[in-house]
Symmetry: C2
Subunit: 344 residues, 2 copies
Amino acid sequence: MSPPTLHDVAREAGVSVATASRALNGSSRNVRSENVSRVRAAAAKLNYEPHLSAQAIAKGSTRTVALVVRDVADPYFSAIAAGVVQAAEAAGLIVTMAVADGSPERELEIVRTLRGQRPRVIIVTGSRIEGTGLRETLVEELAEYRTAGGRVVLISQRDLPFATVTVDNGGGAAALARALLGVGYRRFAVFHAAPEIRTSRERHEGFLAELAAAGAPEPLAVETGFTRTGGYEAARRLVERGFEDVEAVFAVNDVMAIGAMTALRDAGVLPGRDLGVAGFDDIDSAMDVRPALTSVAVPLREAGLSAMRLALSGDGSGDGSGEADVRLPAEVVLRESTPPRRPG
Amino acid sequence: MSPPTLHDVAREAGVSVATASRALNGSSRNVRSENVSRVRAAAAKLNYEPHLSAQAIAKGSTRTVALVVRDVADPYFSAIAAGVVQAAEAAGLIVTMAVADGSPERELEIVRTLRGQRPRVIIVTGSRIEGTGLRETLVEELAEYRTAGGRVVLISQRDLPFATVTVDNGGGAAALARALLGVGYRRFAVFHAAPEIRTSRERHEGFLAELAAAGAPEPLAVETGFTRTGGYEAARRLVERGFEDVEAVFAVNDVMAIGAMTALRDAGVLPGRDLGVAGFDDIDSAMDVRPALTSVAVPLREAGLSAMRLALSGDGSGDGSGEADVRLPAEVVLRESTPPRRPG
DNA sequence: TTGTAAGCGTTATCAT
DNA sequence: ATGATAACGCTTACAA
């Protein structure tokens, strides 16, 4: 009826629970090999699986990694999640997932209740907390968790006192600007999200900075949602307004860019030919969309792997000192959505 | 240093652990309201979070849902996962994720060790187990888990004795065939995966059946991987072989279809104009790709939600009797990748 | 209404 | 090398 316990295994093998326990995990060094096999056989026979919660409470630590993402279905986060899960499984750890859904309150609430899981590691990605008082609370919460021996790794911008995996948003956007200038574009529109979204802001700013440095005119800024729909809307607005003064659109992420392309086409504007379009992230569909989307490749899965690596390497933190960082390079990929263009 | 325990809270509030426990969870009815607030205050002051593992072992049950998917990064599974996570969080449950990676052995291994977590629910999606002896073992494993009070829900085909959420693959494929015949296509190539992959087989068969019923010629079958690359390869092979005798390609899933479109284009063949292309799943990018991809919409997120609903409604199972099913309708969406075509 | 104490399934200490 | 037995943090009879 109910699953076999270690007691059952011990009885079956004719040894004490202590011996059974020792036989089944690491400390098997000091148990007679005959008993080891006895116990193993009994465990196999009963199809015994140790109760992880019981182990956790006895050992005082779990084998759990808690991952907080903004949205599982978003290819950006699912790629990161894939990396995290891969690395975690390789290390024999279990991954739990929580979805913050873009709400700082929810994110804070999640981190709070996460502590109840007593995970070994908490990885937070796509945090939107900025400016608000919630931010300090989040930091306190995480710091407290860390003090209790947990590892914290953020995948976002390095602006919180925790080990962080960042993608070089500013640098990538600057490189993109440079590349686009290089193929003849000078007048841009930027589809960006609310400035509280760090990622959006950094990409936006990196892009602006490079344009300014090159003496190009300041681009038209269109604020919208950080989603496919956001991109679609922004493009619709741009078309309505008229876009004679812009040669290309830079959307701060690919799903926005792809939404924008669809909107353009719906409005009879041919992306690539009538208006250049570039995105950021280089998600899979960037290369399947037509025209293929110019983007900035970000090693998302690698980010997840790095986060786990960071967490397990002992730099996840410990006692405040030594928050290691990993900065992942972002690489421009020019495609047909921004064909070379002769100035004028 | 280490997190506060219920003892700490009790001491802080000046009551016994029992009272503290009662005050903090359900049975608070029989504790003086003054003490309830005392305890609540103490808990808040200490920032107490109950140790979930300890609760689990004391209560004999967890609040965990274990989700097994083939690949987190695949939009098909991440959409399902999103539904599962959403429903689980709404019910106050924690979701753990494991990735089977397309390997039946791995899947079995996962389910086995999952039992250690003692999850309330196990949801398996994208199972590939077929034919092999592993299948029976999997069933036994899950049945045993169910006997111990766990709920099992499968998201796949209804061929295992557990509650199942299915998408109507056969019916959807048949409807697609009908629709394509309706707009003038008669000669097809089908890009399908190995027959062990149920989903692929069902879609393939549904498509064939409908063609046969309509007296259309038997399509060319091209076996390949169930992935984007698989689709790409198959299309490449098709082009090499020559495709004068085919008017449209049906790839058994969208990522394959999208890969195929890219391959066609790479070979100078224009999808939609030179060769119709249709997929299955209607993932987000199906409508962003050009030409927009004809597909069969499957309510993936809904599948995740339904699975949780099934699990929580008590039909997850219990004692063998009453395995409820949910069959999700699949709906044809004709787009530009299969423009109407005049016969001949 | 409250407290004492006996579990829950492990691991770890300490004798033997 | 092995077996009692005390933790681990919590819930829940059972008493008071």
